[in-house]
């Protein structure tokens, strides 16, 4: 069987919350949860919150446009399911990495990161000097995975039914597999 090679998806930052829960349901709904992957959350953030095109969003996340569209469709479907059926949404898992821009200060000779890309760097955060240079993205910079939270469900978006997985069942068989797919 042909194994699809999956690329890591670049992500801006973690969502503000780990999930959402419904309130005021009339019936006693089952304690079911929709699992929204981090890259799916990110696709909604880019398309519907930042209102950018699929093309631009795919570049930002470092993936192809068709892949982006697929992730986005899956995200919408999951959110819709949670809305309509009154389910919890848990944002977790996925194959993402975080990435900040790096700069070099010529005055104090330090390197520093700019974790918030929406704000422009005006001076060195250490010494306040204005003479700094921006490290340009090089291809060799290998994406890294956030440990813990994110490692668990590596493989999950391979499996389109991930949203229906129960509890923590997927943890064991996922461990380790993800890396081979990189």
């Amino acid at each position: 069987m042909k194994r699809r090679v999956r690329r890591m998806r670049r992500m801006h930052s973690l969502p503000a919350v780990k999930g959402f829960s419904p309130f005021g349901s009339v019936q006693n709904l089952e304690d079911k949860t929709v699992y929204l992957l981090l890259e799916e959350y990110e696709s909604i953030r880019l398309c519907d919150y930042d209102m950018i095109t699929h093309q631009e969003a795919s570049v930002i996340m470092g993936i192809s446009r068709p892949t982006f569209t697929r992730i986005y469709a899956s995200a919408r479907q999951k959110v819709a399911k949670a809305f309509v059926e009154g389910l919890k949404i848990s944002i977790e898992g996925g194959k993402v990495y975080f990435d900040s821009d790096w700069y070099h200060c010529q005055s104090c000779n330090c390197d520093f990161s700019n974790p918030d890309k929406t704000t422009e760097v005006k001076s060195c955060p250490l010494c306040g000097s204005k003479s700094f240079t921006h490290y340009q993205d090089d291809e060799s910079k290998s994406p890294e995975i956030v440990e813990k939270d994110l490692e668990d469900c590596f493989n999950s978006s391979e499996n389109r039914r991930h949203g229906r997985r129960k509890g923590k069942n997927c943890r064991e068989n996922i461990q380790g597999k993800g890396r081979n797919l990189v």
Partner: protein, 106 residues
């Protein structure tokens, strides 16, 4: 704003520790109040997850900047995701040097 600095010892003359997770002390410097706190690095003794544990400790102290000699590839994304600025000091500097730099008076 609070800044964390990895330190080899518990005085202002100690050097910035180049090992992030296994540094001897963390210095938490509060820029507004100018309070300096030296905290022994508890994570250092762990056999695994040293870096992660150190990051979690610092995040619990609400720092917005962290100064060290090096950040491992597992550490960087953790600080990135929490919007903490990382500063890599490339030459030997003391804690005092760093605090003076932060206050922008040389």
């Amino acid at each position: 704003m609070k800044v964390a600095i990895t330190s080899t010892g518990n005085s202002l003359n100690s050097n910035v520790d180049s090992r992030f997770g296994r540094c001897s002390y963390f210095v938490i410097y509060d820029k507004e109040t100018e309070a300096i706190e030296f905290i022994p690095n508890q994570s250092q003794k762990l056999t695994e997850g040293v870096g992660t544990s150190a990051v979690e400790f610092l995040l619990s102290r609400n720092i917005s900047m962290v100064v060290s000699g090096e950040f491992g590839s597992k550490i960087k994304p953790m600080f990135d995701s929490r919007k903490v600025t990382m500063i890599v000091v490339k030459e030997p500097k003391t804690i005092d040097d760093i605090i003076k730099l932060i206050n922008h008076k040389k």
